[in-house]
């Protein structure tokens, strides 16, 4: 017995160590970087849907409840079954979807005309009541919806007639159409009334209806018998599978076990391009790769000249060419094309180390200073490598930089606790309002706000949300972008390249720049 116990202890410890090593080695590879596309097709005669389309993504859906899912991978799956009131075209313009027209009828009222002859997969006819009930559910504080705040200004949904609703808001709410084109998938009464649990069964108005979900294994959808207003679907069955290992995804595509895969590591692109019957589709992502400078922690960063100096000290073009192997697009200011307020007149900071030294000296830091640049590892493409290269560049102009690499969890804690001197980061978020307010508004001091302060920026952010005129609002965001460019609370790096790979027989599909799959007219030839 004692001999046996000794054995047992020894192996158990070893076993635990072994397991810990495996877990540590695996790292945080499951990034939620996903991809998508969609084209609004003309309704009308529809060819019979054919074939099974197999889509392999890096992660599975978190839930079947569309108001709870947050990852791009989940949203792609949800949007094949559920429709929103408005949609986005591939270049992110807002387009009609379940709502055919939307207009502002007063400072605090929007009117939406709804599409007729739309049915849920359980046979319910879509109408104004569904819009009211769904919006109320989206706002319900009892639902674990982390985006509920996006519709907080909505006070009430008034049913004018079965195909017209008026949405009343507390104060002017200019971003309603933007929000409705991204959030708030419309649900049937079966779900809003509590009769069907949306985490078990999906019932939408989308071109595909829910068949089964085996978490971690596959989600299956079949074409809805009733033609969808978009002209979809062109395939009979969709099968979505999560495969976390990039090399495995690639082999699945090459061997025909997948028709569309995402994400694709840029390192795999040459191999895929050399493969017959495979297309590689690259696009410029919306998310901004940046270095955030924390002026709460490093007093030198409070001086705009120091922040500008670091922009001049960073040779972004070389980083893109070497570290990123060309799989990135240089960012001139805080945001790239596709985001409201983007201004292509803002030229990227030139790589001028001498100018950087001069600015540091003007700011009173001729002898430089020391700083730690925090970086996650494996979260963003080549994050550690890029951080190390940036640190070397900064050190060359006198800002002696040490890199500290961290696991994602403590890294995020540092971001939220605002304890990192500076950090390598990817700013996501399609809605500019949410993104700028958590970054630049010193009154809201959101998650990614790290000490930046500018009264005019605050005012622009807060006023833009209430400016109903889209043109004027865009100008305000443009002005904000100019201020942020000049004062550079970040070092602006790049928009990463998103890559999909598909079999050549997959036709009629375009990726969206927000990286969420919209199937559009996708078909199999």
């Amino acid at each position: 017995m004692t001999r046996r116990q000794r054995h047992d202890d020894r192996y158990t410890r070893r076993d635990l160590l072994q397991r810990a090593a495996i877990l540590a080695g695996t790292g945080v590879a499951l990034d939620l970087w996903s991809l998508r596309a969609h084209v609004l097709a003309a309704p009308g005669t529809r060819p019979a849907p054919i074939g099974n389309l197999l889509i392999v993504q890096g992660v599975d859906a978190e839930s079947l409840d569309p108001h709870v899912t947050t990852s791009g991978a989940s949203k792609g799956m949800m949007w094949a079954m559920y429709d929103k009131l408005l949609e986005r075209s591939a270049d992110m313009k807002i387009i009609p979807w379940l709502a055919t027209q939307w207009r502002v009828v007063g400072e605090t009222t929007w009117e939406l005309k709804l599409r007729d002859n739309v049915y849920f997969h359980n046979g319910e006819k879509f109408g104004a009541e569904h819009v009211r009930d769904t919006i109320m559910r989206f706002k319900n504080p009892g639902i674990r919806n982390v985006y509920a705040g996006q519709l907080r200004p909505v006070r009430d949904v008034q049913i004018v007639n079965p195909l017209t609703v008026r949405i009343h808001t507390d104060g002017p709410f200019a971003l309603l159409a933007e929000v409705l084109s991204i959030y708030c998938e419309i649900l049937p009464k079966a779900i809003t009334g509590g009769e069907v649990d949306p985490t078990r069964r999906a019932i939408g108005t989308g071109p595909y209806k829910f068949t089964e979900w085996l978490p971690g294994q596959r989600m299956v959808m079949d074409f809805a018998e009733r033609p969808h207003f978009s002209g979809q679907p062109r395939v009979r069955r969709l099968v979505w599978r999560p495969v976390s290992e990039a090399a495995t995804r690639l082999v699945e595509l090459k061997t025909g076990a997948a028709h569309l895969i995402t994400p694709v590591d840029p390192i795999q692109v040459p191999e895929l391009e050399a493969t017959k019957n495979v297309d590689v589709i690259a696009f410029r992502q919306l998310s901004s790769q940046i270095v955030v400078l924390n002026s709460l922690k490093v007093r030198q960063f409070q001086d705009a000249r120091v922040r500008q100096a670091l922009n001049h000290a960073t040779d972004v073009d070389t980083l893109i060419r070497t570290v990123m192997r060309g799989a990135a697009y240089r960012l001139g200011s805080a945001f790239g094309p596709g985001i409201p307020g983007y201004d292509d007149a803002l030229r990227p900071y030139a790589f001028e180390p001498d100018r950087a030294r001069q600015l540091l000296s003007e700011a009173g830091f001729r002898d430089g200073f020391e700083v730690t640049l925090f970086s996650p590892e494996g979260r963003y493409l080549n994050d550690r490598l890029a951080s190390e290269a940036i640190a070397a560049m900064w050190t060359r102009v006198g800002v002696r930089t040490r890199v500290q690499v961290m696991d994602w969890s403590p890294f995020v804690q540092g971001v939220l606790g605002k304890t990192h001197d500076a950090f390598f980061f990817q700013q996501v978020g399609v809605l500019l309002d949410a993104t700028v307010s958590i970054n630049f508004d010193s009154e809201r001091k959101g998650a990614a706000w790290q000490g930046y302060h500018n009264e005019e920026a605050n005012r622009l952010i807060q006023d833009a949300v209430k400016t109903m005129d889209a043109g004027r609002r865009n100008d305000m965001y443009k002005r904000l972008n100019q201020i942020v460019y000049r004062e550079s609370p970040w070092v602006f790096l790049w928009n990463q390249q998103g890559v999909y790979a598909k079999q050549k027989r997959v036709a009629g599909w375009t990726p969206h720049v927000d990286g969420i799959i919209r199937l559009g007219d996708i078909s199999l030839s």
């Binding site: 047992d8 945080v28 509920a148 085996l214 998650a447």
Partner: protein
């Protein structure tokens, strides 16, 4: 014997209690779960509201007591990420992991024991050197590398087997091969070492002197003695495999417990991680109990009641 069993089951309760506290503390110490669950562009007020919905706004001891109360009623809580009962999620994934574990175990036994016995009887010969070297390589190969290599060879190059998934018996081959290359190597080495040790002992010489056939000497005397440590290691390996091979499951997109746990850990999905650890911990303790029972059969000198 009865007393021994009861002791072991009481032991199980303590182990699970300790493990649950440890998981609780580790998850909380390694970062705020809610901030990893919610996207960074969520508004702070939404984050706080959702924190309260998950009960994560309560002090940690209160959260733990709540969990214990639920656990006593058989409720291990709802996964933060999947919004489904955590226990249900684990049980859904367990069959895939169990299948992989049992087939791997079967392969390991059918390959490892005969080969170990064979080379154990030929210790020092060329064949022993060669096979020992091969098994040494087998146990040294990292499984993520081996898994990808097998995919590239059998799925990509030869097009003989599917690369990933859980659809048909063919999907089982590569993950099982990846896992059993390590375990077979390990068992071969253990059986070989024990058999070659036993064969040098006096009672074997006596048996041979009595004219007992070589087959009986090996099969009955040598193997039976070698099986004590083999069964110990097999039991531990089975426990390991039931815990889910995180690496193999994620390389082959095998929808098992290990992959589920990895996702749980990455998103600090406390109820999910806790449920996986408790279910796997229970399996581990029960397997050890079975192994202890097997000793009684393998070595009649072992008596548990006297040793207390």
């Amino acid at each position: 014997m009865g007393r021994f069993l009861i002791q072991r089951l009481v032991h199980l309760v303590w182990v699970l209690l300790a493990v649950s506290i440890l998981v609780f503390l580790l998850i909380h110490m390694s970062g705020d779960p809610i901030r990893l669950l919610t996207p960074l562009d969520a508004k702070p007020e939404d984050v706080e509201r959702v924190r309260a919905l998950y009960g994560l706004d309560q002090p940690i001891p209160v959260q733990y007591v709540r969990f214990l109360r639920g656990a006593l009623r058989g409720d291990l809580g709802e996964s933060f990420r999947y919004q489904r009962p955590a226990f249900e999620l684990v049980m859904q994934r367990l069959p895939a992991t169990a299948l992989l574990a049992l087939v791997t175990l079967g392969l390991t036994i059918t390959v490892g024991i005969p080969v170990g016995l064979w080379i154990g009887a030929r210790a020092g010969h060329a064949v022993d050197w060669v096979i020992s070297l091969v098994t040494f390589v087998f146990i040294s190969l990292p499984s993520f590398w081996l898994g990808v290599l097998l995919i590239l060879l059998f799925a990509d190059r030869l097009r003989l087997l599917p690369a990933s998934g859980f659809e048909s018996p063919a999907h089982l081959v590569l993950p099982c091969l990846t896992l059993s290359i390590y375990t077979s190597g390990l068992i071969t080495r253990i059986v070989r070492a024990d058999v070659s040790d036993v064969l040098r002992q006096d009672f074997i010489r006596t048996a041979r002197a009595k004219g007992v056939g070589e087959r009986t000497v090996l099969g009955h005397h040598a193997l039976r003695n070698a099986l004590i440590s083999t069964v110990t290691v097999l039991g531990l390996q089975l426990g390991n495999l039931l815990g889910g091979s995180v690496v193999v499951e994620s390389v082959f997109a095998w929808p098992g417990v290990g992959w589920l746990m990895l996702q749980g850990i990455q998103t600090r999905d406390l109820p999910l991680v806790r449920a996986v650890v408790l279910v796997v911990g229970t399996a581990f303790v029960l397997i050890n109990l079975i192994v202890d029972m097997l000793y009684l059969y393998l070595d009649p000198r072992i008596r548990y009641d006297h040793s207390g």
